[in-house]
Subunit: 225 residues, 2 copies
């Protein structure tokens, strides 16, 4: 990407909404880009991370993992979405980031970003909103893993992700079932059992990454149990 | 508290560090105070909350709860610490808040705070740091409840809370064991079993809210398992 491309990409990023052209230019000049193939680590938990990252294309998973390889997905981000927000105030990353698809990111050194922000504090409000939303999402995640059983968690996730199509509600997963099990904080085997149970109850049908919701009301009832 | 008292309280709050006296005065004039006895709800999850709260004295628990009464503590805050940060960008609270001790809080309407912030953006950096720290803490909580077993979680908590005293490491709980079980995301019964197991292994002794650590190394080993 040349500078013009990066400038154009910045135009589409909500984080930089309201930033005057001059400041956007400073960011574009300092931006670096990098490509990550699917499965490649971008940031390691507790390692130094002094840049703000924004996804140009692809998909990035933010997660925590244990020494034994257990994993809990925290966010999945797509194009235009920033991550490693904490780089502005913290030297190390509070989680890991991995490319889920082939992904292009651009990143800005925290120092440059801080300079831009000091001269044009309006985007601090964008950043605050973003932090606020992320905090809220993580609190919902805590609620889900700590207070809900797996069928309820899965039903909530499906009810939220379902899109009304011609023949009814459908969820099109943009990642594997293995990945979904990490989002649910469970094993692929346990997830599969719940899917089978839901299928046996005529609540849904699973066709690979396409999940056809047969009984949306039942799903909502389980979600709000 | 009269205005002078509130002004003096503001001086001691890290959130307002760097705010010019004039802006502090505007905040002090708009501040309202309220007392909550121990056990009283301050904010309800998903309910309107358009003020930023700061604790003058006492202790406040931020938590999520389920319809069946299960509860997960997210933060416990003390004097000088603000909560309901999301009021600046959001109309509803993402969690509940309850007084753990007899507590006095002062609160500022989000509108006034936003006005002060627009005129003096320096405290936005304080707010960003705060958001960043809170986000990090919740990610650590997610890691703990999702990836660690209870003995490991409790050992981590105790190792972090332990203070070196004349005769060795001691944890002085500032809340009940029942409250601790909610922080650990478990039941009082399960928590009690782990304490008994640790005691049988000569790792610690429990004397009410005082926990005497007999074998700090063993505790650290369990924590990092």
């Amino acid at each position: 990407m040349d500078q013009m491309d990066i400038l154009r990409a910045l135009e589409h990023m909500p984080l930089f909404r309201g930033l005057p052209p001059g400041q956007k230019k400073i960011l574009a000049v300092s931006a670096k880009e990098k490509n990550f193939p699917a499965g490649k680590m971008i940031i390691l938990d507790s390692q130094e991370a002094k840049s703000l990252y924004v996804i140009v294309w692809g998909k990035v998973k933010i997660f925590k993992s244990s020494a034994e390889g257990k994993e809990q997905t925290i966010f999945i981000f797509g194009p235009g979405e920033p991550f490693c927000l904490t780089a502005l105030t913290d030297e190390v990353s509070p989680a890991s980031a991995m490319a889920l698809d082939d992904t292009k990111i651009i990143y800005f050194p925290a120092g440059i970003l801080e300079k831009v922000v000091r001269e044009e504090p309006s985007i601090l409000f964008n950043l605050l909103s973003l932090f606020s939303r992320r905090l809220k999402e993580v609190l919902t995640l805590v609620e889900s893993i700590s207070l809900k059983e797996l069928p309820q968690r899965l039903a909530t996730f499906l009810a939220r992700s379902a899109i009304l199509q011609k023949d009814g509600y459908v969820v099109e997963l943009s990642f594997s079932h293995r990945e979904l099990s990490k989002i649910m904080g469970t094993t692929p085997e346990s997830l599969s059992r719940v899917f089978k149970k839901f299928a046996a109850q005529n609540i849904l049908d699973v066709e690979g990454k396409i999940i056809i919701i047969r009984d949306y009301d039942a799903l909502m009832r389980i979600a709000s149990e």
